[in-house]
């Protein structure tokens, strides 16, 4: 039995960023559902109100994204943390997949332990690079374009019209929603059910030694 090692996994900035981002995304999804199915859902009262809330949280996500990007860029960890290396595809991803789909059920130890230097496993890296470098920026751009169709008219026209922009925004929204569901679930796969949640709140992950 070794002493629990305590190590700051998530700095405060990242934690604040994460939770602001989380609340904003959830509200964007909820308001987005109402905007997509206005005849079925009226969670936020009128359509206009839902649009306003959606816009506000959209901009929050925009600023939050800039904050995140700036933070990691300044720390020069953007590429190191997020961009998968070749061995991530050849070794990391198969190992990690095998763990998630089979070994985890037998109680085998996780093949990857997050450290402040390498916070994400290969699967996470691949997913997050897609989410944070493609999906979220695209979603922000299309969102902003849809926010003011008048002003961005020339850009929208150049990109193929409102219809195309909207299509991208919608399909990405669905992907984000699906990701959100899986993301929340996967965070229960820590040492304990709430281990990852706690880590994201307090910054430290309690490490249990003794099992491999």
């Amino acid at each position: 039995m070794a002493l629990p090692k305590r190590e700051l996994l998530h700095p405060l900035t990242v934690r604040i960023w994460h939770w602001v981002h989380a609340i904003a995304i959830v509200l964007l999804v909820l308001t987005g559902i109402q905007l997509r199915f206005p005849d079925l859902i009226t969670w936020f009262g009128t359509f206009k109100r839902a649009v306003n809330i959606h816009n506000i949280f959209g901009f929050i996500v925009l600023f939050d994204y800039v904050l995140w990007f700036g933070f990691y860029a300044l720390k020069r960890e953007l590429i190191k943390q997020y961009v998968p290396a070749p061995e991530d595809f050849t070794i990391g991803m198969p190992t990690q997949s095998a763990y998630y789909f089979a070994r985890i059920f037998f109680g085998d130890p996780a093949p990857f332990e997050p450290t402040p230097e390498a916070k994400f496993n290969s699967l996470q890296k691949t997913t997050y690079v897609g989410i944070m470098f493609v999906l979220v920026p695209l979603q922000i751009v299309t969102g902003v374009l849809l926010w003011d169709l008048e002003s961005f008219h020339p850009v929208i026209e150049a990109l193929g019209g409102v219809r195309v922009i909207d299509a991208f925004h919608i399909i990405l929204a669905y992907i984000v929603t699906a990701f959100l569901i899986v993301h929340v679930y996967l965070s229960t796969l820590g040492h304990t059910f709430f281990a990852h949640f706690k880590a994201m709140i307090v910054g430290y992950e309690k490490k249990e030694e003794g099992h491999k």
Binding site: A167, I170, Y174, T177, I181
Partner: protein, 665 residues
């Protein structure tokens, strides 16, 4: 010559004078004071009227004998003369009557020159009542004695058929019967009133006949039958009706005829005649009614209610004995057609003569001779069918004409024929077991399909739906209007309107399903569902027997089969009728919550075809940007699916992990 006549006349006068004077004077002197009228006996009348001499008198001479009444108009007398043949009168039905019983205005002799009309209604109230209402009375204004001679009337029953016809033929001619098929035979066997007096009671009379020396058929006389009555006190009726029950049974008459044959009577046979039993004096010439051959040529014709055997009497005349009605089945067939007017031809007003007028030989000998038929007359009305059929393989090979397959006397509208009945038309000649060995699921095909589904490629086919109730044992029963109304708990509902709730004249599957649901709510025991049949809607008479066409399964077993283009719902209507509405194809293809047409599935109907793919692409394009939501929902369902699956396995394997941890600790 004149001298002789005058002499004769003078003698007559003298005789009349001497007879009439005492006859007139005696009663007058005796009874006139007492005020009692002397009944004038018919002998008194016959003194003058009983001799044909009265006809030979001239007007002046006759006037001398009566009290002149020049101011009074003479009444019509018809063919009656002043002479009454007492010899004949004695045998009439009126023989018991005195002249003055009818000629009531004679109170005295000599009587007035001109008498009033005799009013037969005193005795014949019923007959006069019938007659007064008749067209005959209204048009001809004929009086009773203008047809019937009351001084020579025989009992109606004793009148021969020819004598009965004679009454009418006094004025009418037979010429107006050109339309009548077998005119000669009708005149030979029937009296006028069989047709022209619809209300008269008629009967079928049989008579024993034999072939005469010249080959003619003759009625057997009492003398010819006498030797067979030995032991029956000379009574022919008793000799025939051996069990004495008053009815001649078939075996009894057969036995008697056999005995006649043994005694070398030449070809003894019963011959039938339709006779009027009780006349009805309301005659009609209304063509519509009389030209209706089915008044008689049906097995429930009115005269079949009285079947009698006419037997010659010892002295003269005839007596009748009742006959067992079973004999009708034994008589040579008459071309009778039952219920003709319920057939499609009858309903459309096709009269017998419309088809049969050009036939000359219908009855050769005693049998119905179909060979007499010339080219089919069907073509007059069914020209299009004939045009199609004429060049068909069937016509060329079989040389069958229309009625080789169809019986025009019992034809039912095609739409009302069941599959079995339709098959029966073909199976009259064709054996379906032959040549169908290649056919998979042969019995199933034969059970549900009519021959022409495959053998008439040009026929218009379709799918018919109807409401049916299926019980626990799977027996299906078609629902009639009344039952549907009961299930709906409505009085006289308009089912068409209820089914086609949006009144666009087209039944969407949603409409049918909700209607079925509302029916099913009331019916707890059995299942209410749609029955289905694939049927020929409009037949084609161009049949084929072979070739790849008929053996091509995909003609039907494909979702592009022809009959899918015509889906029809049959809705029962009040009064037994049926209304049809076109129906949406999706009722067959769709998967529904309640069982519809559970018993109907055509193998192959769900196969995807090239056309389906293009249909799908069309739908894909039609959905357009809505695909975003579909795909998006798939993503979300995928995400949830992963979470659900992973979480479930995690929960299931919790025990395993705990065990392992314990072990390690």
């Amino acid at each position: 010559m004149t001298l002789v006549v005058n002499k004769k006349r003078r003698g007559v006068f003298a005789r009349l004078f001497f007879t009439i004077t005492p006859v007139l004077l005696v009663p007058f002197t005796l009874f006139s004071w007492a005020g009692v009228a002397f009944p004038i006996d018919k002998e008194v009348c016959l003194e003058c009227h009983g001799t044909p001499d009265i006809l030979e008198m001239n007007r002046e001479e006759r006037l001398e004998m009566v009290i002149p009444t020049p101011q009074k108009q003479e009444v019509r007398k018809g063919k009656l003369t002043l002479y009454v043949n007492y010899g004949k009168f004695r045998s009439t039905v009126h023989r018991e009557l005195n002249c003055v019983d009818c000629h009531t205005d004679i109170e005295d002799i000599p009587h007035p020159q001109r008498l009033g009309l005799v009013n037969c209604v005193q005795c014949h109230e019923e007959i006069v009542g019938q007659y007064d209402k008749s067209k005959h009375a209204k048009v001809s204004h004929r009086l009773c004695f203008e047809c019937h001679n009351p001084h020579a009337t025989t009992s109606f029953r004793k009148l021969s058929q020819q004598e009965r016809m004679g009454i009418c033929l006094q004025c009418h001619e037979k010429n107006g019967h050109r339309w009548l098929p077998q005119r000669g035979l009708h005149f030979q066997y029937l009296e006028c009133t069989v047709c022209h007096s619809p209300e008269a009671v008629k009967g079928l009379f049989f008579q024993l006949t034999a072939e005469g020396k010249d080959g003619k058929r003759l009625n057997l006389s009492y003398r010819q039958l006498e030797e067979f009555t030995r032991g029956y006190s000379g009574n022919v009726a008793k000799a025939i009706d051996r069990n004495g029950n008053g009815i001649v049974e078939v075996h009894e008459i057969n036995r008697f005829i056999a005995r006649l044959k043994e005694q070398e009577v030449r070809s003894p046979r019963l011959q039938e005649k339709v006779l009027v039993l009780q006349p009805y004096h309301n005659y009609t010439d209304e063509v519509e009614r009389i030209k209706d051959c089915t008044m008689c040529h049906v097995s429930d014709a009115p005269f079949y209610s009285q079947v009698m055997l006419r037997i010659p009497e010892m002295k003269e005349g005839w007596s009748t004995v009742k006959m067992d009605k079973a004999i009708i089945g034994k008589i040579p067939p008459i071309p009778s057609k039952d219920y003709y007017f319920t057939t499609v031809h009858g309903q459309n007003g096709v009269e017998c003569i419309d088809c049969h007028a050009d036939l000359t030989i219908l009855r050769a000998g005693e049998g119905f001779e179909v060979k007499g038929l010339k080219t089919p007359v069907c073509e007059h009305c069914h020209a299009d069918v004939m045009a199609e059929y004429k060049d068909s393989l069937h016509a060329k090979v079989s040389e069958k004409i229309c009625f080789g397959c169809h019986d025009p006397h019992s034809s039912v509208p095609f739409t009302e024929l069941s599959v079995e009945q339709r098959q029966a038309i073909c199976t009259k000649c064709h054996d379906p077991e032959r040549g169908h060995d290649w056919l998979p699921q042969k019995d199933l095909h034969f059970k549900d399909l009519e021959c022409t589904m495959c053998h008439a490629p040009q026929a218009e086919k379709g799918i018919i739906f109807y409401l049916q109730r299926v019980d626990n044992e799977g027996r299906a029963e078609r629902l009639e209007y009344g039952e549907v109304a009961k299930l709906l708990d409505m009085e006289r509902p308009d089912l068409g309107k209820l089914l086609d709730s949006d009144s666009n004249g087209f039944l969407e599957d949603r409409e049918v399903l909700s209607f079925l649901k509302s029916l099913g709510e009331k019916e707890r025991r059995d299942k209410v569902e749609l029955g289905v049949r694939v049927l020929v809607l409009k037949p084609s008479h161009n049949y084929t027997d072979k070739g790849t066409k008929a053996k091509d399964c995909s003609l039907c077993h494909s979702s592009r089969a022809e009959f899918y283009s015509k889906l029809i719902m049959e809705i029962p209507e009040q009064g037994g009728g049926i209304r049809t509405l076109p129906m949406d194809k999706s009722i067959l293809v769709g998967i529904h919550a309640i069982p519809v047409t559970s018993d109907f599935y055509l193998l192959g109907e769900s196969k995807i075809s090239k056309r389906d793919i293009s249909d799908i692409l069309f739908v894909v394009r039609k959905i357009g940007y809505k695909w975003l939501d579909v795909i998006g929902i798939i993503f979300i369902v995928g995400g949830l699916g992963f979470v659900g699956f992973h979480g479930l396995v995690r929960i299931l394997t919790t025990g395993m992990r705990k065990k392992r941890r314990h072990k390690e600790e």
